[in-house]
């Protein structure tokens, strides 16, 4: 996808690959663009290659092959340009715990080139926005997990980056703080002032925040589209059947009878079946014919979870 207004994309990734020493191929030639002001989600399980991709885009991991440009700067030939234009909130805490919140913020501001005379105003601004004013002069080691996370996000914004990388930003937060942070990220998205790349396990976050989502599995992007388009692949309604036996044989049976399509998948004894015009009575009749006992039936609209589980399930090699 090119820039929404004809400009160069904020991020251009082309065939990016990372092979760690020992031969572990963490990222296998991913390609995508992110437009200015877009919120782009990287979704995938642990070990999928999301954080390695973020690492290469933030120049903390060196690519094995491929190219990537952030804010027009190449990650290999102009890493300082990339870092000057971007900020990152890492998955794990990275603040200096013995220092105060104020000191952490001001150090970060100075490292990212904020003028000395402007630092205090910026610290006050982000502290006010993130509810940190009363905590600023306390050592960070006395903060709760949620407070520390807010400090890290505030710190990343103090340099007013053009591109913000958020690597699992809400992991470990209590629900209230999590939703408040989602509001903040949503506010950034709505203003279109900043390009955001977000990795997350929480599919509801991606659905709520992201303009487009890339589903990453075993180092490859297996789907890339808007949440709406991804959901559209599964039709308008999902039927979930929980039976008294492993679900794989029943799914195979239903496929033989052409009652379910490609989007159907199994987790244990639960079948998730997108409805594509098949009458429910035909479906239940087939289950009866198979001889399985249905324990529970649910119908609901498809979610990004269904897309994710479908794509990262047993059929993945074909999808990739």
């Amino acid at each position: 996808m090119s820039g929404s207004n004809g400009r160069q994309p904020a991020i251009e990734v082309n065939g990016l690959t990372k092979v760690y020493s020992g031969g572990v191929e963490a990222v296998k030639g991913v390609t995508f663009d992110v437009a200015h002001g877009e919120v782009f989600g990287l979704l995938g399980p642990n070990g999928a290659g999301k954080s390695t991709t973020i690492g290469m885009l933030t120049t903390t991991v060196s690519p094995t092959s491929g190219t990537a440009r952030v804010a027009g700067c190449d990650v290999v030939t102009d890493p300082i340009g990339v870092r000057a234009a971007s900020a990152v909130v890492f998955q794990d805490p990275v603040v200096d715990r013995p220092l105060t919140g104020r000191r952490n913020l001001s150090i970060h501001a100075r490292l990212w080139g904020v003028a000395r005379a402007e630092v205090e105003a910026r610290v006050s601004e982000v502290a006010a926005r993130f509810g940190l004013v009363d905590l600023l002069d306390r050592a960070v080691e006395t903060y709760s997990g949620g407070q520390r996370r807010r400090l890290e996000i505030a710190r990343s914004l103090i340099s007013r980056p053009r591109v913000l990388f958020l690597d699992e930003p809400t992991v470990g937060l209590d629900p209230r703080i999590r939703f408040e942070l989602l509001d903040v990220i949503g506010g950034l998205r709505d203003a279109g002032a900043m390009t955001i790349v977000l990795t997350t396990h929480y599919l509801d976050e991606a659905e709520r925040l992201c303009d487009r989502v890339a589903i990453v599995h075993e180092g490859r992007i297996v789907a890339l589209d808007t949440p709406r388009a991804l959901l559209g692949q599964l039709g308008h309604e999902i039927v979930e059947l929980r039976i008294d036996a492993p679900g794989e044989p029943l799914l195979a049976f239903l496929r033989e009878r052409a009652l379910v399509g490609e989007g159907a998948f199994v987790l244990g004894s639960t079948l998730t079946l997108p409805r594509r015009g098949t009458p429910s009575r035909d479906l239940f009749a087939a289950v009866d014919d198979f001889g399985a006992a249905v324990i529970a039936v649910t119908t609901r609209p498809p979610s990004l979870d269904d897309v994710y589980l479908n794509l990262t399930g047993g059929r993945l090699p074909a999808a990739a």
Binding site: Y20, T58, T59, T60, V61, S62, A71, I80, G81, R83, A84, A85, S86, A87, V88, F90, D92, P93, V94, V95, D96, R97, P98, L99, R103, I107, H108, R110, L111, W112, G113, V114, E125, V126, A128, R129, F130, G131, L132, D134, L135, Q147, R150, L157, S159, R160, P161, R162, R176, I177, E180, L181, D183, V184, G186, G187, L188, A191, A193, M194
Partner: protein
Amino acid sequence: MTTITAPLDLRSTTRAAASRPARWSVFTTLSRRRFALSAHTPREILVPLLTPILFADVIAPALAKSIPATRGIDYQSFVAVGTIGLLVPLSCILGGIGMIVDRESGAQRDLLAAPAPRSLMVFGNLTVALAVSLFQVIALIGASAARGSTFSTDVSGWLWAVAAVVGLATFMHGLAEILAARIKKQEEYVGVAPPVALLPWFLAGSFFPISAMPAVLTAIAKVLPVTHVLALLRYGVVDDNGHGLHDIWGMSNTTAMATLSLAVVGVFAAAVLALSTRVFTREAIS
């Protein structure tokens, strides 16, 4: 409960993004950060001074009672200067723990994402190593003088001494950076690093002239930077005749010998520092 007042003032983010910061600004920020982490309690400021003061007030005078003088230098002053060959390496090497803490706490990742050459992280840490080393040397010399040691008042002599201390601290800090980059755990580092600081000190003529050792050990001592540092220090502040320098070089011109020894220290310091920035960058980026 504290709440987040969303949304942010997003107009601010539409303004020009932060430009590439000046290297000097990044360097001073990194140095200040390391100072703040190394000396954020009075204990962390005072403890490094305790060892030099105890050496100067207890050990050196006690040894001087048994050995009144060596080569015309009062032994208390001789040993006080020799102690610098232990203090500086030890404090620099132990400073490497801070770098491992940075890595284990995650702080290093954030610094690596900063828009500046990564070698500045090594130089920022070096500033603190130099400051702590000079601080300890001043405490040692001050306490020794208070106990009756006699030191030269010649400015040029002190310049030789300061240059030697700076060279030694730079060399040892470089070693600390290399070790900290290669050793993954603090526990492992604490086991490995102190011998790196201590072993050369035993051979470097700290308590006696290197010529008093067997020839093999004397030959080894001559290639150790700390031997040159101690010879320079003694030449600068307690021994105008430069006996230590003569033990190394065997020449008659003390200024030439001092220059050669300073060059040796400088080459070691520059080489190890360059290697340390390379190792740090290579190890920090996967």
